[in-house]
């Protein structure tokens, strides 16, 4: 099972919809400082049901919707869609989350509206849950390096 496609629309600096397709192996994302690379990581956390704005480097939930510039108006909602390839004859899984400025989130699995709990359940068997270290934020390595004994314990308990 691997991350096959990622669609981002209206999330942070991605005012226009973009679609990324990844290989089962190793892909890279490059670009200048401030261009939006780490925002892609935040988008993946978002679609997997992240509830903490802090882990998406934001203060309030609506900070993650495209906030507009002097040339372009802000968006009313953002939507991220993630396609996980099938495994052992299973078919693909399409997960999406749409957040409105009102604060309401809509979750879908394969087009069917579900609750946040179902998204989290759906991942428990894939190993994409809160455990594990499948996403290392910018500065994440530095955090491990500077972690005191209690902090490192917390990291190990969460990841191991």
């Amino acid at each position: 099972m691997y991350l096959k496609k990622l669609g981002i629309n209206g999330f942070k600096s991605f005012a226009s919809p973009v679609q990324l397709e990844f290989t089962p192996g190793i892909s890279a994302i490059v670009g200048p400082n401030g261009s939006g690379k780490s925002n892609i990581t935040d988008a993946i956390r978002f679609v997997l049901g992240e509830q903490s704005t802090k882990s998406m480097r934001s203060h309030r939930m609506d900070d993650i919707i495209f906030s507009g510039t002097d040339k372009v108006r802000q968006k009313g909602a953002c939507e991220v869609t993630l396609v996980l390839s099938g495994e052992d004859g299973e078919s693909e899984r399409v997960i999406s989350r749409k957040l409105f400025r009102t604060g309401e989130s809509q979750y879908r699995i394969n087009g069917r509206t579900v609750r946040l709990r179902d998204i989290q359940e759906s991942f428990r068997d894939t190993g994409l849950g809160k455990n594990g270290y499948s996403m290392v934020s910018q500065g994440g390595i530095e955090s491990i390096v500077s972690a005191g004994p209690a902090e490192l314990r917390a990291i190990v308990e969460e990841a191991a």
Partner: protein
């Protein structure tokens, strides 16, 4: 519950030591309880001995040695708790090019069972990447994807070797 953590921790300890020695091409490292008498409440600390050097707490290593030690721990988490994909955002910032080579060689070996998406500014990291997405932003504050020629990046890697 506690026994479960002890088992998992033992697996992690041995994975970490093995991966460290592999990434550093020698040396040893330990992930240990600060207070083995009190496994329930104890903190955990990293000590490492790069080849030819003395064993010291991670805080006393050089900048890049610290990063490589933390990366070894990260790879140990991935080994004992595999996930469908792993996204890493600029973890090569403190590494010299030869350490990037060692790190990417390891990723290359485990790529069959692990998908990696790597955000980087370092050319040497790109040599193991099959696909490269470029992100750019004009003065309008909107992020867009751009096509990136893998050859622009890999003909002359930072270490001066041709890798395309």
């Amino acid at each position: 519950m506690e026994e479960r953590f002890s088992e998992r921790f033992a697996l992690l300890q041995s994975a970490f030591s093995r991966i460290f020695t592999r990434l550093f091409e020698g040396g040893t490292a330990r992930l240990a309880y600060t207070n083995p008498e009190d496994i329930l409440g104890s903190g955990i600390e990293l000590t490492a001995q790069p080849p030819g050097k003395n064993l010291r707490h991670i805080s006393l290593l050089s900048g890049g040695e610290k990063a490589m030690t933390a990366i070894s721990l990260l790879l140990a988490f991935i080994q004992i708790n595999p996930a469908p994909f792993c996204i890493i955002d600029e973890i090569d910032a403190a590494l010299d090019d030869s350490n990037i080579m060692r790190f990417t060689n390891y990723l290359d070996e485990i790529r069959e069972e692990n998908q990696f998406i790597i955000i980087t500014h370092r050319k040497t990291t790109l040599r193991i990447c099959e696909r490269i997405y470029g992100v750019s932003m004009n003065r309008d504050g909107i992020s867009r994807l751009v096509a990136v020629e893998v050859s622009d990046y890999t003909e002359e890697s930072e270490s001066g070797q041709t890798t395309a």
